[in-house]
Assembly symmetry: C2
Homo-oligomer: 284 residues x 2
């Protein structure tokens, strides 16, 4: 599968399957048409029509809204329409995190098509002129993508933690990278994509980092999320992205972005511009 | 001026001022409404209506089309509607260079709103953890942007030369960089933008390169296009982009892309995603 096909796999959704989720006239998400009707149970919180779901809850505060949303989510879990809550909060925003209107449980962000933010770190080692990358294999008991390949460190960005703080936390938990080393990670890019998942719409922003590691560094998983780590020549990583479905879907984009920035994608490839633009797809 | 404002300056054009320039149904460029009428002089080459300019020349070959276009351009220069020809040929394409339908003189690409391709090289030096960048000051006699600041190496990509060959040539001519050093330049990105210039529409693609140089390297201009070179701390380059109009317009984008890739633009800046997406604006 070409790099461009990988990017397309992360950008598959049919707008007519969803209606906008609006708050104060702003579109803050998208709800699947077939799901929108379930929100009619809360007429003081949602206005539901054939064309949109509107947040009509009269209390304006961030806390009040977040509480009302949490009440709805717990009701949806109780009636079996949502499988579980994650316990981690995400901001509801159509811009950056600091423009949030309220919070929503991470597991439910797709049901409301709310923008989600994550952080992925490319850990790499120089071997003369060549590069190697640390790749993790996800544990067998992970809820999503068990046993798939992953970036060295990757995680969602919960509310209440800065980018720096969360990266330190993920580095420690996922790969036993100490804080002074984590602080050397360079913020080098972001990839954006939007896809239809079982749970709903996922318009995601992944902040990307490069961390150059010495050849004697070895990662260890401390939170059980990763089964094993492997140091692969970048060419093997590239082939695995192209020729298998081994990587967790969105990790492909983070790696393609890494490959482009490090000179591994030929500029005269016919897809070059579409690849670069596709890594930063506009979010709905 | 913020980075985002710089990007917007390179993406200013009013679609209603232009009509599509079509060939075999494909839109290969855009012609300013006020200029389109001049093409009626060649009714066997152009079909001109209020809504579009169509290439109607009956001979299908690449050479035949290129010859007909050249005849038109010479006619336009003779009647003073176009100032000069450059003598270097650009491909007429709405995709990549290898999908070209014919050639057009470089100086006239904007009159037909044809996609143009260039190459810019960031020459940088590591000073411990900090970076310095080589910056050129354009000669006083340059036709465009005299005495403005420029990337270490920057040039248009003429027809008939590969990316690698042209980069070697520009490196040699503009900065006296020998071929073995030029070949270490890494293809790391591309920026795209589209703006209304005096001559017409410029939907441009700039392929970007990073070349790490040792502290004892010193560039010399061999073709007279650059007056002087300066090695600046990256922070000074960044300030100059933000606070002055010293850089040639499109060099700002190449530098902003460099800054992002090297970790100099904060990911929690409110503009971060718009900056990244703006560097790869869709071309018409």
């Amino acid at each position: 599968m070409s790099f461009l096909d990988r990017i397309r796999s992360c950008n598959r959704w049919e707008p007519s399957d969803f209606v906008p989720f609006r708050l104060n006239g702003e579109c803050v998400g998208h709800v699947r048409r077939s799901f929108a009707g379930h929100l009619e149970r809360w007429p003081d919180i949602f206005g539901v029509t054939a064309d949109e779901v509107t947040w009509v809850y009269p209390l304006e505060g961030f806390e009040e809204r977040s509480r009302a949303m949490q009440e709805v989510l717990e009701g949806l879990v109780k009636s079996g329409l949502i499988g579980h809550l994650h316990g981690e909060q995400y901001p509801v925003t159509c811009g950056n995190r600091d423009q949030a209107h309220m919070l929503i449980d991470r597991a439910c962000a797709p049901h409301f098509g709310v923008r989600a933010f994550g952080q992925h770190l490319n850990g790499f080692v120089r071997d003369g002129e060549r590069l190697k990358m640390w790749i993790g294999r996800r544990s067998a008991d992970r809820r999503v993508y068990p046993l798939h390949l992953d970036n060295l460190v990757a995680g969602g960005l919960p509310w209440g933690l800065s980018l720096r703080e969360n990266l330190r936390k993920e580095c420690r938990e996922e790969a036993d990278i100490p804080q002074d080393l984590a602080d050397l990670a360079r913020p080098v890019s972001a990839v954006t994509y939007c896809r239809d998942s079982t749970r709903g719409l996922k318009p995601d922003v992944i902040y990307c980092y490069d961390l150059e590691l010495s050849s004697d560094f070895e990662p260890h998983c401390t939170d059980g999320e990763v089964e094993s780590f492997h140091l692969w020549p970048v060419e093997r990583v590239m082939e695995t992205v192209q020729e298998s479905d081994e990587f967790k879907l969105n990790c492909n984009l983070v790696i393609i972005d890494f490959l482009a920035r490090h000179g591994y994608i030929a500029q005269d490839s016919p897809d070059y511009l579409q690849i670069l633009q596709g890594l930063r797809s506009p979010l709905p």
